[in-house]
Every structure is written in C-alpha cells, then in structure tokens.
Amino acid sequence: MTTSLLVTGRPRRRAASPLTTRPDRFFLWACLTPALLAVIALQLYPLLNASVLSFREWSLTESTDPGGFVGWANYAQVLSDPVFWGAARTSLVITVCGVALQLLLGTGLAALLRKGRALHRTARAVLMLPMVIAPVAAANIWRLMFNSRSGSVNTTLSAIGITGPEWLADPFWSVVAIIIVDTWQWTPFVMLVISSAMLSIPQELVEAASVDGAGRWRTFRSVELPMLTGAFALVVTFRSLDSLLQLDTVYTLTQGGPGYSSYTLTYYLYALGLRNFEISASAAGSWLFMIIVTVIIVMMFRLDRASREATS
C-alpha cells in the first residue's frame, strides 16, 4: 500500500522491448510527435521567450516591440518594489492559513463521512459541488454573502449580536474573506482525497487494533494517521501550489484592494503585465516566482519518493 502521485503501479514488465520491431518504434514515435510539438510550441517556446523578455526593456504603452537588453534591471525593479514584497507576504498568509484550515476541516469531514451509507454518499456528492464551479463564480457568490446589507454573513452575525465588518473594504478582513472563499471551495478536495485514502486502509488492521483494546481515537491516531501521511503530503502540495498561483478569487472578490492590501503574487504580476503593460518587468517577476515554485515542486518529488520508500 503506497501513496504516490507520480507513476503509480510498477509496469509488470519493462515495456515491449523484445517484441518491438522497427515499424513498431516508428508507430510509437508517430504517436508521440503531435503532443511533443504542441508542448514545444505552446509551453517551451513561450517560457523561453519570457526569459529573454525579462532581460530586455519593454513597456507596451511606449512601444509595440521589445527594446534593447538591459541586464538585470527588470529584476532589480521588481525586487525593489514594496508592493511585490507586500504581495509575497499576503500570498504566504493566504496559502498557509487557508491550507491549514482546509486540511483540518477536510480531514474531519472525511472521518465523519467514511461509512458507505446512503446519507454519507449523498453528503459527499453534495459537498463536492463548490469545487466543480468556476472560482470566479464562487467569488461572485461570496460577494453576495459578504454584502454588508443583504449578505448572509453579516445578517447571521447581527442575529447573534455581532456587528460584522465591511468585509471587502477593510485591509484585514478582505484577506480573511479570500481565505474563507478558498476554504469553502477547496475543503471538499481535501475531503475527497483523504476519504479515498481512508477507504484503502485494510480494515483488518483497524479491527486488530480495537481487539487489542485501543479506543477509537487511539486507533485513528496510531494506526490510520500514519497510513495517511502520503495522502496528506499530496494534498498539501497540490493545495499550496494552486492557492499560491490562483488569480481568479482575488481578481473577482477584491481586485487586490482596498489599496494594495490584498495583492497576491499572481495578482501583482498580472496587474503589472496586463494592466500596466510593463511586459518585461512582469516577465522578470514571473521568473522569480518560478524559482520559488520549482523549489516546492522538487521538494514534493523528494517527499513522494521518501514516502514510497518508507512504505514499500
């Protein structure tokens, strides 16, 4: 029982090498070529282009074509911009708080809904709905919820005697609002992954533990939790990266405002490149962002390999 997000399942045999003839190899390469060309044209080429642009001077408001090379000036411009650092901090806060909340709630829900009864299955299907809708629609829904006059959030709060804040107009509460929307939408994802990981735990182990006199909480902590480590690692990396990189919620919910208070890194780079048209500075910032994310992806691979070696 291993948990892996990479190539799952070992091939029973190392491909068809002894049986593969030359025309077969030709057929296989012919199968691979269209996708390969698409990836080169639609991914590698733009990415390389971005790295070249990041060293040139180009503001679309001044010229329709890229200018001369300026060395590291674009990187220096981004790194000396206080808004960039503010956005980095906000991104970190949203990702850490949001993912922690989603992990707690999602695991709780998975544990609550682990049985296969009709009620549990229906609940799982209904809870899945927030994650299938467009994040821009989810953000619009919460703009209605956070509306200070008619929204359910503040009317509920005032029913229990609390005066709710002006959610989207307040520098602190607008960031909280983004975390709430992200948590509403993506807790179901955590629930789904942890649920299916729980289902794959051999029932004999759990029964053996309870025969040995372990209570339900003790069984969960000492028998099941360790077997869920891989699923947790997967959920944390998927959620952290997606939350770090997403633009939709911030764009629709707060527009980065009030002021720059809810700017995230992706929103900052979007606004820089496609609103202010500072193409080259935005490309430089994207590469800085890319370095951070690559470190996380490499760590994810390490963790995945480690968890596979530990359990197999």
């Binding site: 068809a16 899945m128 209605l144 959920v235």
Partner: protein, 274 residues
C-alpha cells in the same frame, strides 16, 4: 440504545454541515431573483421576486457570444487533449524508456501543471497578438491546450503503464501488429481513463479564467471572463451578476454530478494507488 443515539447525533451533524456548506448556493439562486431594492434589506429571500435579471442578461448579445465561445473552447480543447494525450501516453508507456527517463518526463508533465502560469501568459499574449489570434476563441483553445495536453498525457501514461502486459504479449504472439494491439487491446482497456481525462479537461477549460482573461477583450469574451466582469465600483449590478454566475454554474454542476465517478477518480488520482 446509546449507540443508536450517537448515530442519530452524527446524522444530524452531517446534515447540519452539508446545509451550511451549500447555503452560498441558495444565496446565489435567491439573489438572481432579487430586484435592486432587495439588496438593501437583510432578507434572505427576494422580497420582490423578479425575472428581470435573466431578461437583462439574455437581452445582451454578449451573453450569447460568451456561451457560444465557451462551448467551442471546451469542445475543441477536450477532444484534442484526449486524442493527443492518449497517443503520447501510450507511446511513452511502450517505448521501453528507462525508469529514469520516465521519471524525468513525469516531472516535466507535472511541472507544466503547477508552475506559475502567469509566466507563460505574458509571452503567449504577445505571441497571439503577432499571429493575429488575439481576442479569438482559438487563442483561448491554444492557451488551454498548453496545460491540458501535458495533463492528459500524464493521466494516460499512468493508465497504460497499469495495464497487464500479458495481454499485450499474447496479442503479439498471435501475430497482431502494434497498431492493431493499440486499437483493439489497449484502447478498450483504457477507455475509463480516457473518460476521466475528458471530464477533468472539460471542467478545467469551462472554468479557466487567467488565460481566457489575458487572451480576450470584452468584445469576444468566454463565460468565465464575462462572469468576472462585474467589478465596476459604480453600482454593482448584483442581480445580473448572480444570474450570469448561475448560468456558468448550472451546466458544470449537472455535468460533474452525472460524471461523478470519473471526476472523483481523476481528482483523487495518485492518492490511493498501490
């Protein structure tokens, strides 16, 4: 007795959690029937229910353009990604590459899923402008394909590597050519994974915002960019915003419920394979 009491309590707790979690959907439905004045009162249900919001969005010719563009983008993106992903996934699984090479390929495929897309969007915007495709559905399709082809390849690579090799060997001994074995043996066994890839691609493409927003202008929007366009400070039209949000949600919610098995299989992939 005590056990049944706890069970009933747990059932109540589940119902309560589910109700709280889907309350925002009810708020959306209710808001889409509200008149402008209703947004100034604290009532959950519309006090003056009206269909004016729907009349308004469907009277706007842009709504038709958005719906048409979104349908075109989703259809082409899904068909092309599943087709190319299946072919390349099969090739990668059968080429007899060393585990190191496969590991590298998987790293690159997953990297394309997770790196900051904003880095690709800016040169892509320039590229589409130079090719004369800016502000067309074709640009959005190409943008989506850049993510979904690697993603479908990854899914299908895993699916084909998981197939038992004995069947393939038996086919080879019976004299079936490799293309024959691909079409008659491997493909039928991978059909369910292809459906999973199609469902995930379609959901992604329908909901995607960053690429669509960067490659189109308000003259030729898709649904997601239209839904996000209610951001003017000067009096947000909450009613139309709710109605259009409902238009983008309903098809995908129905689709995901019908395709639930494939959707869940795709989303939880890698979490529980042994």
């Amino acid at each position: 007795m005590r056990k049944r009491f706890t069970a009933a309590l747990m059932g109540l707790l589940i119902v309560a959690v589910v109700l709280v979690w889907i309350l925002p959907f009810f708020e959306l439905i209710s808001a889409s029937f509200k008149s402008p004045a209703d947004f100034f009162s604290a009532s959950f249900l519309p006090e003056h229910p009206t269909l004016a919001n729907f009349d308004e969005i469907f009277a706007d010719p842009k709504t038709g353009i958005m719906l048409r563009n979104s349908l075109i983008v989703v259809t082409i993106t899904t068909i092309v990604s599943v087709l190319l992903g299946t072919l390349s996934g099969y090739a990668l699984a059968r080429l007899g590459l060393s585990p190191w090479v496969i590991g590298g390929v998987v790293f690159v495929l997953l990297f394309f899923r997770f790196y900051p897309r904003i880095a690709m969007v800016i040169p892509f915007f320039v590229m589409m402008r130079d090719w004369g495709l800016f502000d067309t559905p074709v640009a959005v399709v190409l943008g989506h394909l850049s993510i979904t082809i690697p993603f479908a390849t990854w899914l299908m690579l895993i699916a084909f590597r998981g197939l038992p090799a004995e069947i393939d060997e038996a086919g080879a001994i019976d004299g079936a050519s490799l293309p024959g074995r691909f079409f008659h043996l491997a493909l039928p066994m991978a059909a369910s994974s292809m459906a999973t890839a199609a469902v995930l691609t379609a959901v992604l493409s329908w909901n995607e915002f960053l690429i669509a927003q960067s490659l189109t202008r308000s003259s030729n929007p898709v649904l997601s960019t239209g839904v996000a366009s209610f951001i003017t400070d000067a009096g947000v039209k909450y009613g139309s915003m709710a109605a259009l949000s409902l238009v983008i949600c309903i098809p995908i919610v129905v689709f995901a419920l019908v395709m639930q098995r494939h959707y869940v299989a795709g989303m939880t992939m890698g979490a529980v394979k042994g």
